[in-house]
């Protein structure tokens, strides 16, 4: 087991955003978190990342857990739209968690950045300015950055929003490859159909935990709900 929530709840601006969470994620799982807007998905992610402490209950992590092993793909911020940075710089900044007190990146960090640039087909764009890339290219750059950080767990916040279908397929193919390589994946997504094809587990939120279990059972649960 990598982490488990035990009756955890998180508040946002004093209001409880999501509560009654009881689920666990094991090594190699692929958990998809679904739910409508405002159902507490992003708050939960912030909690899992350790950016927000739960207002009730707790998260229990595995014994060898290190916060710096998480790769995180956040939603894009407005400030990044006009940010002057090269693709190389952005991707390399994914190694920031391992920097410690050193002022500069090591050769190993640069190698990791190079590997991930190649994995996402960005070698030719490495010198380009981030703000001049297309939406899909920007997403791939941020994915490469997150991969630099992801040693164990990969957390994605709506990785597909704003991507065309073929770019979305590429992201899914990449996630499949990463999971084979042994990464655990937690993803918030609106794309139910695509997520169900790959995910091993599903967590359905509506400010409370409505469903948690294997993906096959989720389909049955959905059908039952509609009936």
């Amino acid at each position: 087991m990598l982490l488990s929530c035990q009756n955890a709840a998180w508040a946002y601006d004093g209001n409880v955003a999501v509560s009654g969470l009881n689920f666990s994620v094991a090594d190699g799982d692929y958990l998809c978190i679904v739910g409508e807007n405002g159902s507490g998905k992003s708050t939960l992610l912030q909690g899992l990342l350790g950016l927000k402490t739960p207002c009730a209950g707790k998260i229990v992590y595995a014994a060898d857990w290190r916060g710096t092993d998480i790769g995180y793909l956040p939603q894009q911020t407005a400030a990044q739209k006009d940010f002057p940075a090269s693709v190389q710089e952005v991707v390399l900044s994914g190694c920031i968690g391992r920097l410690g007190w050193r002022p500069f990146y090591s050769a190993a960090d640069k190698e990791a950045a190079q590997t991930n640039l190649e994995l996402l087909g960005l070698e030719r764009l490495r010198g380009r300015c981030f703000r001049e890339l297309s939406g899909g290219q920007q997403r791939r750059t941020l994915l490469a950055r997150a991969l630099c950080a992801a040693r164990k767990l990969f957390i994605l916040d709506e990785p597909l929003s704003g991507l065309d279908p073929s770019a979305a397929q590429n992201v899914y193919a990449l996630l499949k490859k990463l999971r084979k390589a042994g990464l655990t994946i937690i993803m918030v997504s609106h794309d139910l159909h695509g997520a169900l094809q790959q995910a091993s587990h599903v967590l359905h939120l509506q400010n409370k935990q409505k469903f948690f279990g294997a993906a096959e059972n989720y389909k049955k649960w959905l059908e039952k709900k509609h009936v």
Binding site: L51, G67, Y72, S93, G127, E132
Partner: protein, 411 residues
Amino acid sequence: MFNFFAEMLSYAFIVRALIVGLLVSLCAALLGVSLVLKRYSMIGDGLSHVGFGALAVASACHAAPLAVSVPVVLLAAVLLLRLSENSKIKGDAAIALISTGALAIGVAVISLTTGLNTDVCNYLFGSILAMSKSDVYLSVGLALAVLILFICFYQKIFAVTFDENFARAAGVKAELYNTLLACLTAVTIVLGLRMMGALLISSLLVFPALTAMRVCKKFQTVTLNAALISMFCFLLGLIISYIYATPTGASVVIINILLFLFAGLLAWLQARGWLRAVFALLLLGGLLLAAENKIIEIKENFFMTQTNEIYANAPDYLGRTLKYEGIFSVYADPDSGKKYYAVIRYGPGCCGTDLNAGFEVVWDKEYPQANDWVEAVGALEEYDDNGIRALQLRLTSLKTLSVRGKELVLR
């Protein structure tokens, strides 16, 4: 040029202003890039007003200005950050509250003690005379500390600036680096405050960063160029303020504005794909200009042809400098007795060498011996010789050479 700088630097207060100003510009530009990108530009403005208030109180209490204002502004920086992260009062409103509050306190304290006088004007708009020797030592120390901290934490500052959430998820203490950034900014602002003025100091943070961002595409180059631009603008501003006796702060800001507009023009041309065309035109113009000023050297190989060309198209060559070697000759006009001097080579003729190629020369120094082999350099001019329009070279140099070249030239 050298004399001018030597004279300027002979004033101790200008040397002090130069040292502190360059260091402050450097620090401000480095920090400014992150501040602008994080939408924190106004923090600089708020802090400068707090600095004004602190300076006013310090001078009222006859305390050392930097020793009082550095801690006060540091405190204000931390407070401003806390306020902008706390959502009860929005960031810009918090800055407005604190900056106007501090300004009000400063003005009240000054009017109660010394009264509103030129000192206040200097605080607001800056004065080049502001730096004492002890200020310089303290400023250099603090500025170096800002530089070293910035370089050590450059990667983290980049990560936190680009994406705070990601950096935090990766275990970087974003609040720590935000506070660090604000504190370094506070120190930089206090250091530059009295020279640039409370109302103008924040431009040092904003302008170089924006100018660099117009033309550069990497964070690293933006940061480096912002630093260079900032120091260049300060230097130029200081020189201008020295020559025209304008306030230093205002001069520096005006230079910054001009450079910002120029960078905007460059970026606009680049976006339209005309930048290369402009560079090509500049290059072409430069080459033409260089060719225009170049000395025309008449070589042995086409000596006849080239001298004939110059005689045939004399108007194109008037004023140009010619350089060639030949025999120094003297002729005396049998009728008037007037002496003509020339540097020539013998050309082909129908019976021997009755056609000489070369130019008549005038030289305001002593002429060499006739038939000496000389190198002549001079400007071509036209003169009126008793109704005949003739060409002559007004020499700038006439050297006698020991090795003689070809005296008879056939082409």
